[in-house]
């Protein structure tokens, strides 16, 4: 029964739909939140720190942990081999003979990959010991670009992925070949979607403990689900699922998908707990998080459309190359398939061809991230729609409108298998156009342009999927493989409502909120059903896999809370209400369908004076279970399970209803580009949402604003950038630029509410939409402003200079042209030395002299006449670090010139360089030493100090030559002060 409807006049007392204050906020606002690092630990808990690879791709030749093991407070140092002995490989998302460990075993495949774990009495001490571990690497060629990764001559990351391709599937829906063959026009676009991440402000955290007696793990982690990962974890830890108790803390500092990626660290830290026999805690730091936690996928897409002359899109042809980074971690390649059902976006397109390839490269493995597949798909699709409008010289809104799924067509089955549940797209567009003031915006564009400004308008229409079909990922398999593996589908949600002996109501769900206010909304939902107020209801949304009702679909992802979890909670509450109605009917001497719940009472509809306090009726099952009718059973606890029947496995033709609900978004925006700085500024942004029934308007708007802000970052500022050598370049918050209040405008948010027929409350997900729609909307506006066809995200102003300004003012004739933009350091210079070339020559080949002239050199060992090993302390300003260097001399041209090849490895990273020194006698003065060098620097220093690296290298190289000059001067002439002083000023270095 529907207790809510039965209650009569529900509008007057409905809590759903009201923006009540959140129950979560009082604690969070007064510093009483309970995030993982706020909880304290058992006495004796140890702390872990992780040594990470400076190389993108290298073999581990040797690892020396002896010094680290002896360091103060250190309990254990674990390498890849140690972890491997305690665990099993993580399952890989496709069928292939490939292993996936949470730590490098023998080989590193991305910069930042764990190489060793130190467990010590404090984090400080653990980090001290990390500095003492010596690892020798043998560098391998890095594979960075996803397209080049597939080349036959690219290095292989995993032998089980030939050509670095983990999966290659082609699909045909309808008759795309024929439509393209007959098309009036074919318009295409090629895009690259960059790497980025929604980077929560709280990083990962894990506390793990192992009980050898029961051979069981107890893990606390700010993991967010999906709990299909629990199966992956227990398998990797080699215990049955019931011996891996996984719990989450009450509060989590944001996730946006990202905290799914903590799971390899759960294995790592749990293994460390097992190895040490003590609880072990690890809190990821920000450098670790940016470098190596998880990233959204970057994708290279070519998308073509068969289009009529008036802009109707008849067929699409997708070619997507997905870059999942170094390992295919569960649930990847899900990013690529999450949108499979709705690859036609908001449009009515009957014919679709798709080729999906998944490649591995030497980058951080990918995982869940808000928008999950949407930003990548819509960047291609909506840029294409914009291109179609430009090429056909039509208004983009017209092109969008003439292709939308028509209003009366719902539920609408897309070509690729999605069942779009509800909506009225044309009305949503029309309302946004009028309520959002598009006409005024267009006038503004004309005005700004007339005044010489650069201004553009962009549009997007997208469907926002929510509640993932757990079976969509199996679309990566062929139908035959699927038949063998057995069907996967559904989205099992659970909720428990329980009543205690004083009749107060508790709700328990496995939704694991990360700031979305789940506890407040569920209190509203249950209060409505039971005629109580939200403050009467206490909600717990943490999970404890040892005690709670959960399924593989549990967790906080795919925007499933409002449609699935809240709905399931309603079902559980209604079941309890149905039973309580029968209990009350007996007590109030009436029929159960005469019973309503209102104002804290259970009462008769016909005779409202006939009533009893809710708590009395509710508690009866505790105090007098015998008084309940037999068929009522108990009213203490009701657990509901719910899975929608619409979510079936992919069929034999690869149709897949990848999600249960599909919201609709239509956005447009005006962007002005500064003439001097070329910085795009969002002048106005309008976003229209139809996410079905709205449960809490302020929270819905909060989700929209939050997603929008992250999307502004993705569009304009944020990139997980890699150098060609695989060094990670965005290792700090000074390089990975999250937008601040100064960069995020307030969008105008509009709503429609087309209830979903498939969810208990009519609601759909809403949290991810703007991450899908906004980046491309901004890109479209910038394309319109600048009149360009290719737009690359993020829209870094410097990149626009070339496009927009043409050739730059030439350098005055005396100067050489600009250098290419690689991260290679290079330079040249010369110095006068008061010695003969012969004298300088012999010094260059002499270990003692070398140790005197190499800046910070502690010792040089001569291996052969032309091979030296050195221990070097490099110092630039406050930065100081030790390196083990190897120098080889080649191309010896006695006494005129020599080439030095050097490599160096140290705690801050590695360097490799090559320098040519030529010596020429200068009559009466000595020798002119000329040098030219080229170097590359990678590792930690590249990711956190990239901005200063070039100049710092020049400082060091300058030091070398100053020292060389000084040394030669000394030994040649007993120290000619004047030359020395001259040199010093000339080279611009220090003493």
């Amino acid at each position: 029964m529907d207790a809510n409807a039965a209650a009569g006049a529900p509008a007057a007392r409905s809590w759903i739909g009201q923006s009540i204050p959140r129950v979560e906020d009082k604690a969070l606002l007064s510093g009483r939140g309970r995030f993982i690092d706020d909880l304290g630990v058992r006495p004796g808990t140890l702390h872990a720190a992780i040594l990470r690879s400076p190389h993108a791709h290298a073999n581990i030749v040797s690892t020396d942990v002896d010094a680290a093991k002896l360091a103060r407070g250190v309990i254990a140092v674990l390498t890849g081999q140690d972890i491997k002995a305690l665990t099993a490989s993580l399952v890989v998302g496709v069928k292939a003979p490939v292993e996936c460990w949470p730590i490098a075993v023998g080989r590193v495949r991305y910069a930042g990959e764990p190489v060793a774990v130190v467990v010590a009495e404090s984090r400080y001490l653990a980090e001290d010991a990390i500095d003492l571990i010596e690892v020798e690497y043998e560098a391998l060629p890095p594979v960075i670009d996803p397209i080049r990764a597939m080349d036959a001559d690219s290095a292989l990351l995993h032998d089980g992925f030939p050509n670095n391709i983990a999966s290659d599937r082609s699909f045909k829906y309808g008759e795309p070949d024929q439509i393209f063959a007959e098309a009036e026009r074919i318009i295409g676009i090629s895009i690259r979607y960059p790497r980025n991440s929604c980077t929560p402000i709280e990083t990962y955290g894990v506390v793990a403990e192992y009980d050898p007696g029961e051979q069981a793990f107890d893990v606390l982690a700010n993991f967010q689900g999906p709990f299909s990962i629990h199966a992956v974890l227990s398998r990797a830890l080699k215990v049955p699922g019931n011996r891996l108790r996984l719990r989450t803390p009450p509060d989590s500092g944001g996730s946006f998908g990202v905290k799914q990626g903590v799971f390899p660290y759960i294995v790592l830290i749990a293994a460390a707990a097992r190895a040490t026999g003590r609880p072990v805690k690890w809190i990821e730091d920000r450098l670790e998080h940016l470098t190596a936690s998880v990233s959204a996928t970057n994708r290279a897409t070519t998308l073509r459309a068969a289009v009529t002359d008036d802009g109707r899109i008849l067929a699409l042809d997708w070619d997507q190359v997905e870059d999942c980074g170094a390992h295919l971690r569960a649930p990847e390649p899900a990013t690529l398939y999450r949108m499979h059902g709705n690859l036609t976006g908001a449009y009515d397109i009957a014919h679709v061809a798709v080729r999906n390839r998944v490649v591995v490269t030497n980058k951080t493995p990918t995982g869940l991230n808000r928008g999950f597949g949407g930003p990548q798909v819509y960047f291609a699709l909506e840029r294409l729609v914009h291109r179609i409008a430009v090429e056909l010289k039509r208004d983009p809104v017209d092109v969008i409108s003439c292709n939308l799924v028509p209003a009366g067509a719902f539920p609408y089955r897309t070509a690729t298998g999605a069942l779009l549940d509800s909506g009225d797209y044309p009305t949503a567009v029309a309302r946004a156009v009028s309520e959002g003031g598009l006409a005024e915006l267009k006038a503004r564009r004309e005005k700004v342009r007339a005044e010489g400004g650069i201004y553009g308008i962009g549009y997007t229409a997208v469907v926002e999927p929510s509640v993932s079909n757990m079976g969509y990922i199996t679309t990566v398999m062929t139908p035959a493989e699927r038949r063998k593996a057995g069907p996967k589908s559904g989205a099992q949600a659970t909720a428990t409502v329980s009543i205690d002996p004083v009749g107060s109501v508790s709700v328990q769900v496995a939704s694991i909120p990360q700031g979305q206010g789940h506890r407040t909304v569920l209190a509203q939902v249950v209060a409505d059903v039971l005629g109580l107020t939200p403050t009467d209801i206490r909600v717990n949304a943490e999970i404890d896999t040892a005690k709670d009702a959960w399924s593989i679909a549990s967790g906080n992802y795919a925007s499933r809370f409002a449609p699935a979890v809240a709905g399931t909670t309603k079902i559980a509450a209604e079941r309890l209400a149905g039973k309580l109605a029968r209990v009350a009917a007996a007590g109030l001497n009436t029929e159960s369908d005469d019973i309503v719940f209102a104002g804290g009472f259970v009462l008769s509809k016909r005779n409202p004076d006939n009533k009893a306090p809710f708590s009395r009726i509710a508690a009866l099952s505790h105090w007098s279970p015998g008084a309940l009718a037999d068929d009522v059973g108990q009213t203490i606890r009701e657990t509901a399970f719910w899975t929608p029947s619409e979510l079936s496995p992919p069929d034999d033709h690869d149709h897949i209803n990848s999600s249960l609900c599909y919201g609709f978004i239509f956005d447009f925006c005006g962007i002005e580009v500064d003439r001097v700085t070329l910085q795009p500024r969002i002048d106005c942004y309008v976003t229209m949402h139809d996410c079905g029934t709205i449960l809490h308007p302020a929270m819905v708007d909060g989700q929209v604003r939050g997603g929008f802000a992250q999307a502004v970052g993705a569009a304009l500022y944020e990139e997980y950038a890699y150098a060609p050598d695989g060094s990670f370049l965005a290792g700090t918050f000074a390089d990975y630029l999250l937008p601040t209040v100064a960069e995020v405008p307030e969008p105008l948010i509009l709503h429609m509410q087309s209830a979903s027929p498939f969810t208990p409350l009519g609601s759909k997900g809403v949290g991810e939409g703007n991450c899908m729609s906004t980046p491309v909307c901004i890109a479209n506006a910038v394309a319109d402003a600048l009149g360009i066809a290719d737009v690359e995200l993020p829209l870094v102003p410097a990149r626009l200079a070339e496009v927009l300004r043409g050739a730059e003012a030439a350098a005055p004739s005396s100067r050489s042209a600009t250098r290419p933009g690689e991260r290679k350091l290079s330079g040249e210079g010369s110095a006068m030395v008061a010695a003969t070339p012969q004298q300088v020559w012999s010094m260059l080949l002499d270990a003692t002299t070398l140790s005197a002239v190499i800046p910070g050199c502690n010792a040089v060992k001569k291996i052969s006449d032309t091979d030296f090993k050195a221990d070097v302390t490099v110092r630039v300003g406050p930065v100081k670090s030790n390196y083990r260097a190897r120098v080889t001399l080649i191309d010896l041209d006695h006494p005129n010139g020599v080439t030095l090849i050097g490599t160096a490895d140290g705690a801050l990273g590695f360097g490799a360089g090559k320098g040519r020194i030529t010596l020429a006698p200068v009559a009466g003065e000595g020798t002119s030493v000329h040098y030219r060098y080229e170097a590359e620097i990678g590792g930690k220093i590249a990711s956190i100090g990239g901005r200063l690296l070039d100049g710092a290298a020049r400082v060091i190289i300058g030091q070398f030559f100053i020292a060389l000059a000084r040394q030669t001067a000394r030994s040649a002439t007993g120290g000619d002060r004047s030359i020395w002083t001259k040199l010093r000023g000339w080279l611009g270095g220090r003493r």
Partner: protein, 173 residues
Amino acid sequence: MTRMSAEQRHRVRFILNGEPVDRMCEPRVLLTDFIRHEIGATGTHVGCEHGVCGACTVEIDGWPARACLTLALQIDGCKVRTVEGLTGKQGRLGVLQSAFRRNHALQCGFCTAGILISLDILLARDPRADEAEIREVLTGHLCRCTGYAPIVKAALEAAAALRGDTNREAIDA
């Protein structure tokens, strides 16, 4: 001259939220770790440990400061205030905190403590602070959840209440 050696713990005394603290710590211990893990005031959070995110912002001698860029020993003799010091007796929220709650100016709440401290100092110094000044102060904080607009709104509302433009009691409720 007192040279405090790296491996020993040294005395540090300061006032935290009005109460004297007298503890020992090693020279390298960050103020964030000290107040969170030694003292147990975990309301101040850590988001980056390199001074950018603002989650760790506390008040030191009347100024907002990054606790992650401060050594515990450096605050010997200082007055420090953290988010725990903003709440009244019996957990009653102050004007600014209430405005945050009403405007849904927080979601996960991880960044919130630092933001409250920065704004509290601004508004205490000058309740006439206008939107531009509020935004200027907020540029020193990263929030990944809210998109900032409700934070600005809450701050403006709190400023109005503190100036007496609106009924403070109503706001406080």
